[in-house]
Symmetry: C2
Subunit: 208 residues, 2 copies
DNA sequence: GCTCTATCTTGACATTGTCAACTAGTCAGT
DNA sequence: ACTGACTAGTTGACAATGTCAAGATAGAGC
């Protein structure tokens, strides 16, 4: 009978309900914020009954967790792409590119960022989500590792350095996402701040 | 008739309902997370009817905004106290103390931090809240200003430097609050990371 | 006394998350 | 082709929530 769903997608009744639901989630977060996502609204937009989502995601947190997983996959890809786009550069430049990709992801894909980090979802309690998060962050950890081995920061604690860069990227991302800069600070663009913040890191010149 | 409310507090029926409600909010956020705060639950804990909160805070967001205002007041005080606790130190040391207070606030007063930054509340649309936020951040901005004037960073853009330190503090605070450090990173304590992250800043030695 | 106003209560309504029971397609094995 | 099992989705119900309108209550000012 193939309901209203138009075309090709394979599957049983709907076609590909999980994807349709997650697409709806993205819409809703964009329109009304991560706090106002509801299972029923997502179901409505996907054209199914109000309790269909539960069969795929269990409950509301499950749906948000699935959405967040996609976010971490995208984030990981973007960071890797950023890193690889630096050819012939230093380890510090590659690390800055990873950080830049992190912030750009938050700004360009705010719905994902919001659900991943600011929706109150308990990441560690969702096994697969937790693994996705670790996998994405491995890109950043790897870039820090390269900085240590190639950049001569042999005395630095890799954990400290990782948290330093991660904090920098995550903090700037958070500030950029809710554009509530104090007066005077909103004159510069996000890109200015990205360049400025990661440019500061260039003051590290192997003396650490 | 003075209902169940026991003692001294002044006022009409309840005594001091706004304070009682905000105290209830703190409890609820601590127990069930910022996403699970409800007007009715707060009313229940304060011993009033389910729609009493609306008369003080308008709606749910209004209640969270009032709670967040308190958070910004505390945060501002804590940062100022941190700054003033450094006697005879450099501007950079005072700035590091401000940042440390920021992170400690997030860790020690997580309910406030969560509602202020991660509850989906739209700060700019709440005038008084916005002012409170600006006032608190003025402490950080001031400390950056001192760094520039006293520390010899005359070529640095104060906006860039502010966002740099703010990102660092806010990012570490966020990471610390949801303790989802990747494997290996959770061996160090929050205090280790605070010291490490703000210690990196000491690599800035007036050459910027 | 009386009125006025701030404070709080009651009752209602639509929306939500979740659960149990049910229906409808689809496939494997015979 | 028939049966049974399984997957996908529906229907109906329930308690909880945010919000609104209307009423009740208590203190202030006169």
């Amino acid at each position: 009978m193939r309901t209203s769903r138009d075309s090709d997608s394979a599957g049983y009744h709907h076609g590909d309900l999980p994807n349709a639901l997650l697409a709806a989630v993205a819409e809703i977060v964009e329109e009304k914020g991560a706090a106002n996502v509801s299972l029923r609204e997502a179901a409505r937009r996907a054209g199914v009954s109000h309790s269909a989502p539960a069969h795929h995601f269990g409950d509301k947190e499950g749906m948000l967790a699935a959405f967040a997983e996609r976010g971490f996959e995208i984030l990981g890809r973007e960071m890797a792409t950023g890193r690889d786009s630096v050819v012939g550069g230093s380890a510090l430049e590659r690390l800055a590119a990873v950080g830049t990709a992190y912030v750009r992801f938050a700004v360009d894909c705010t719905p994902y960022f919001d659900v991943m980090f600011r929706s109150g979802i308990d990441t560690p309690s969702h096994e697969h989500l937790h693994a996705c998060a670790d996998k994405a962050l491995a890109v950043l950890i790897g870039a820090v590792g390269e900085l240590i081995s190639e950049g001569g920061y042999t005395e630095a604690d890799p954990r400290q350095l990782t948290v330093y860069f991660w904090s920098l990227a995550h903090g700037l991302a958070s500030l950029a996402v809710d554009r509530s800069m104090p007066p005077g600070l909103d004159e510069l663009t996000i890109d200015d701040y990205i360049a400025g913040v990661f440019g500061m890191s260039e003051l590290f010149n192997g003396t650490g």
